[in-house]
Symmetry: C2
Subunit: 217 residues, 2 copies
DNA sequence: TCGCGAGGCTTTGTATACAGCAAGGGGCAA
DNA sequence: TTGCCCCTTGCTGTATACAAAGCCTCGCGA
């Protein structure tokens, strides 16, 4: 693997996991020494992070980790609604019904299994990721899939910020099952609507549980 | 201005204007010599082009200019519909009605002025760009605006490919006026629907006039 | 004549050295 | 004492030199 890729992956994970908090200045020399690569590949990594929107280049101060305020969260979810509703609708038109019917059943069974214990939680997250991946494949649209991938990086950052409780996860599983079911039934409008509902509930839940110390920015 | 910015802008324009056709290999040494910059800033420019989707990094062969087939055009318009319909709806909710009413009137007056002569054509393009900019400002959403900006680069490439005739431009002006009017009336669903109609007609027109020699790829 | 392999050559990937610039601190003057 | 100016220092931006990896080609053997 290339050094620039390693530096990019490492920095991106550090940002998503909140080890590098918003406002942190990513000095080229400092980070290159920390990650054990030269300045050239590190610069490339910083450029990619900036393109992703995870960092912003500030005149004279270098590259700093992006803020993620409540307002930006709302903006992010507006974009998410545009992309994911469209994706759900396209998946309903083009996806393999059997695959999504299977996902629907497994998601519908998830709430009963979901306790407060973390192992099941990871299992559910994996299931949700599987649904995302299935939608990505089903839509047959490189541009849309790429936009969704870029969006999910930001969403991963949000997830770390406002940890979901078991009750919310159970509800989310139901909502996901509804989406998968609508896609399996080739019902595009319903798939889109179910996605909108899910996103609205998710945003509301995050807003309610948003840590106060991160609300500035 | 930075050397990397100049290289990026120059290469992007060359690609959009079809001076660099799809499949062209962008060798680092060759392009750095042509543009009069070193390899380091040129690499940064190539990385940005790749992130934009205008070029793709091919293992071993370097960076090549992306193809733009009819199929990809369809995918592009699906993404465009998702983003622009959402943007139109948000603009209807948040935009300044007076500004869009003004745009509506000027766009409605455009078809009468639009002859086959190029000067008026440029004037109309400027008017359409003004509508885009007004929407960008009205939506108050950085993420969505950024996605739209990235999308428009690709659309500029398409425009150069399938030149619009006067009849299509007149119709497009009417459609744009409808969108602006719906936003001015704060009618979000109508704004979204009018955008969908416009995009559908645009795509159909482009598909009809698509040059055969560019249809492969 | 065709297939395989080794060598060279071109390419990218990385490191380092240099230049220009901007910001901060210290000193001098009012 | 305070404000302004200059100097120093650290940074980014750029260039170039070096290393490694892939591909093409030429030659040899079957």
């Amino acid at each position: 693997m290339k050094a620039s890729d390693r530096a990019y992956a490492s920095l991106r994970e550090d940002i998503v996991e909140w080890r590098l908090v918003p406002g942190t200045v990513l000095g080229e020399v400092e980070q290159s020494e920390r990650l054990g690569v030269s300045r050239t590949p590190l610069r490339e990594a910083l450029a990619r992070l900036t393109a992703d929107g995870l960092a912003t280049a500030q005149r004279g101060r270098g590259v700093v980790v992006s803020e993620l305020s409540l307002g930006q969260l709302g903006e992010l979810f507006e974009l998410r609604e545009a992309l994911e509703c469209k994706a759900a609708a396209l998946a309903a038109q083009r996806g393999d019904p059997a695959r999504f019917a299977d996902l629907r059943d497994r998601l519908a069974a998830a709430p009963a299994l979901l306790a407060d214990r973390d192992p099941q939680r990871q299992e559910y997250y994996a299931l949700a990721s599987e649904l995302d991946a299935a939608v990505d494949e089903a839509i047959l649209n490189t541009y849309l899939a790429q936009s969704l991938a870029g969006l999910r990086v930001h969403l991963a950052r949000v997830r770390r910020l406002a940890r979901d409780d078991a009750a919310r996860l159970r509800q989310a599983a139901v909502e996901h099952a509804t989406i998968a079911g609508a896609i399996a039934d080739r019902n595009a409008p319903l798939a889109s609507a179910a996605t909108a509902v899910h996103l609205s509930n998710s945003l509301q839940h995050i807003r309610t549980n948003y840590p106060k110390e991160a609300a500035h920015g």
